[in-house]
């Protein structure tokens, strides 16, 4: 990541207008490459229309520079989640619903987040949930 990313300030927002050179698609295209011609020719696919972890970290920094600590944290968790396929994100969400998972299952998810996706802040959120669910009787019975 370029050094100026750490120095992003509110003046850099919106990135799409003020700092387009910092933005790229998950397949490495520039924002300016997303044109109708490229869509029609098939050069731009749905995969291109996603945000990258780098961009989410940058937006998180801008949020934090506005005093929005939690929004910054959310962006960091989101940056980690970009690597997780859609279906698995939905499955993990469903597993976090009350009485849906045992402590073991939640630990399994946390370990997978950490091990497979290097999603350490997401894993921490799941472990925290497991602790609270245990205390509040919101874990599923062992299966």
């Amino acid at each position: 990541m370029t050094s100026d990313v750490t120095e992003l300030t509110p003046a850099d927002y919106p990135l799409s207008i003020n700092r387009p050179e910092l933005l790229h698609t998950p397949t490495g295209k520039a924002l300016a490459d997303i044109t109708m011609a490229a869509v029609v020719s098939g050069e731009v696919t749905n995969e291109d229309l996603r945000v990258t972890p780098d961009t989410l970290v940058m937006q998180g920094r801008i949020a934090e520079s506005m005093g929005r600590r939690q929004l910054g944290e959310n962006c960091r968790r989101a940056a980690e989640m970009t690597a997780i396929p859609d279906e698995e994100v939905l499955a993990m969400y469903n597993a976090l619903r009350p009485n849906a998972s045992s402590a073991e299952k939640l630990e399994e998810i946390a370990a997978r987040l950490e091990g497979t996706y290097s999603a350490t802040t997401c894993a921490a959120l799941v472990r925290e949930a497991a602790q609270v669910y245990a205390a509040r009787n919101l874990l599923a019975e062992e299966d």
Partner: protein, 570 residues
């Protein structure tokens, strides 16, 4: 329906005056006495906790009279994620009346009061807003709302789930000025077609309009990921643990979901509101506003950029108790003060009285909020599948007139008939082309004609519902994406609509719409509480309705020319 006999006996003669009053629409509304033990009380209850906080080793160990061992999961989440541990003891030591005055006093900058708010507990926040009357609450909203420029959001739905109607009304809504459009369904399986109708129609009226389809959480996320919708809002949270669990979620599952949306570059806000807990039968003896403040802090703790609140679908509950509408304004104030985007209600049928519907609206419309309505019905209320809104299409001219009377910007404008007919027709034709290209049940020219001139779903030919549902299923099975729709629109001669849609999808790459209160201008410039941060600091500052926009809002359906009283200004 009333469960008890009216107090006046039929045998007692009533005056003519009483007869007149009895027949006024307001007397069809429901009113009820407070019952604080059950939480049927707006914001003043002896059963709410007293403010307190205690920090040990960098951790909050006591919150509003409960120690950590006594915390339910809301307390835990708020203590660990929402409240600033470093500042909380100092913030809590500030007198409530002093904080209330800072909220009202224009000489206290927004940043200062927002910073102080980061250290407050739910009971303390309640203690502060309880000191404020409704005008002071409006002053607070005017200052603390996050985005400088107010905006508005519409519902575009159909009693028959007719996608052509949704598309035409979306186009009209867009050209009238709504920044966001929302739909939902009668028959949920219709969702893909109606969401496509909304998206395509919404890109016709003007550029920069965002759309969403309110569904069960997982399905809503799925449509968002495909790019068929642009943002999400129906992510409900509740103020008691028991009701939260009844809703099949926890603060942690919802926080995870918030990150999931952001990870796909999709804008999202949570939804909560006074009265939901008592309506769902478990307010745990707390006032409606206390519980709503817990929701607001939970949302903040999750790091979601915004919140739809202002009672929302439960408005009948605070609306029935004394001071309830003041409490609804207070919850919008707290959401704004906690530095969240606030889509401020006014989105549900609320009263039979036109006067009461208007008065309920003013605390949001006059100070301005990020979205004055989080669902102005851009269809007649009988077509509103959110069970009707406080305002609908019949009220467009009234709304525009109130904007002009008061010189306030409620996000809408009067639009000439020829322009409206043109965009409605174009939306229907664009959707006709999309359906044809995707081998969905055909949209006939007769339906396009109907959409151009229609008011309600009654004015459209009936669709073959079974064929449509089959088509909806195939859209999901084939994995049709927003980009597919863009290509179809481009290929079929709707290049400008395709371009608008592509611009919306393209923004996912930048993440700009993930920032607080982000919307687009008509030219796709993101406006958020960063580059358009509210800078209200008293008279002469902040958002002022002036210049070109004010000229636009001076126009109404009928305005007499000053030069020639025989003519109307066009």
């Amino acid at each position: 329906m009333t469960a008890v006999e009216p107090r006046s006996e039929a045998s007692v003669r009533a005056s003519k005056r009483t007869e007149v009053l009895e027949n006024r629409p307001v007397n069809l509304d429901g009113f009820v006495e407070e019952w604080p033990e059950k939480g049927l009380v707006a914001m003043e209850s002896d059963f709410d906790p007293q403010p307190s906080v205690r920090v040990e080793d960098g951790r909050i160990v006591e919150l509003d009279g409960r120690t950590r061992e006594q915390f339910d999961f809301m307390d835990t989440f708020i203590a660990d994620h929402a409240i600033d541990v470093d500042t909380t003891e100092a913030a809590m030591a500030t007198e409530s009346v002093e904080i209330a005055r800072m909220l009202v006093d224009p000489r206290t900058p927004r940043a200062e009061i927002v910073a102080l708010g980061r250290g407050l507990t739910p009971a303390k926040i309640l203690d502060v807003v309880k000191l404020m009357n409704v005008v002071e609450i409006m002053m607070g909203i005017q200052k603390t709302r996050s985005r400088r420029t107010p905006a508005n959001q519409a519902h575009s739905t159909s009693a028959k789930d007719n996608p052509i109607q949704v598309a035409a009304d979306a186009a009209e809504g867009a050209v009238r000025g709504f920044a966001e459009l929302e739909t939902t369904l009668g028959v949920v399986r219709y969702a893909p077609l109606v969401a496509i109708g909304l998206q395509v129609g919404g890109q016709v009226g003007r550029g920069g309009v965002l759309t969403q389809c309110a569904l069960e959480e997982a399905t809503e996320l799925d449509l968002g990921m495909r790019g068929i919708t642009a943002y999400a809002e129906t992510i409900s949270i509740y103020g008691t643990e028991s009701v939260f669990v009844d809703g099949d979620d926890t603060p942690w599952s919802k926080a995870f979901l918030a990150s999931a949306y952001a990870s796909r570059g999709i804008k999202m806000r949570f939804t909560s509101g006074t009265g939901s807990e008592v309506q769902m039968g478990n307010a745990e003896g707390r006032s409606m506003l206390y519980l709503e403040i817990r929701c607001i802090l939970m949302a903040k703790g999750a790091g979601v950029q915004g919140l739809q609140n202002g009672s929302i679908s439960c408005i009948g509950v605070p609306g029935a108790v004394p001071g309830g509408i003041r409490a609804v304004a207070a919850e919008n104030l707290v959401a704004s003060w906690m530095d969240l985007e606030c889509a401020s209600g006014n989105d549900q049928s609320f009263s039979h009285s036109a006067m009461r519907r208007t008065s309920r609206l003013l605390p949001q419309m006059l100070p301005g909020t990020d979205f004055v309505c989080s669902g102005y019905s851009a269809v007649p209320n009988k077509d509103n599948m959110f069970a009707g809104s406080n305002l609908d299409t019949e009220d467009y001219d009234d709304w525009n007139t109130i904007q002009r009377d008061m010189q306030v910007d409620g996000g809408l404008r009067h639009v000439r008939e020829d322009v409206i007919l043109q965009v409605r027709n174009k939306a229907a034709r664009a959707l006709q082309a999309v359906f044809a290209e995707l081998d969905l049940p055909a949209i006939t020219d007769e339906e396009v004609e109907a959409a151009t001139y229609a008011d309600s779903s009654d004015d459209y030919p009936d669709r073959d519902v079974l064929a449509d549902l089959e088509g909806a299923r195939s859209v999901m099975e084939r994995g049709v994406t927003g980009l597919d729709l863009v290509k179809v629109l481009e290929r079929t001669g709707f290049g400008d609509v395709a371009e608008n849609y592509l611009q919306v999808l393209r923004q996912r790459v930048s993440g700009d719409l993930l920032q607080t209160a982000a919307i687009f201008t008509g030219d796709f410039v993101p406006l958020a509480a960063i580059n358009d941060a509210n800078d209200y600091a008293g008279p002469g500052t902040g958002y002022r309705l002036s210049g070109e926009r004010w000229e636009e809002l001076k126009k109404l359906r009928h305005v007499t020319s000053a030069e020639n009283p025989e003519e109307e200004v066009v």
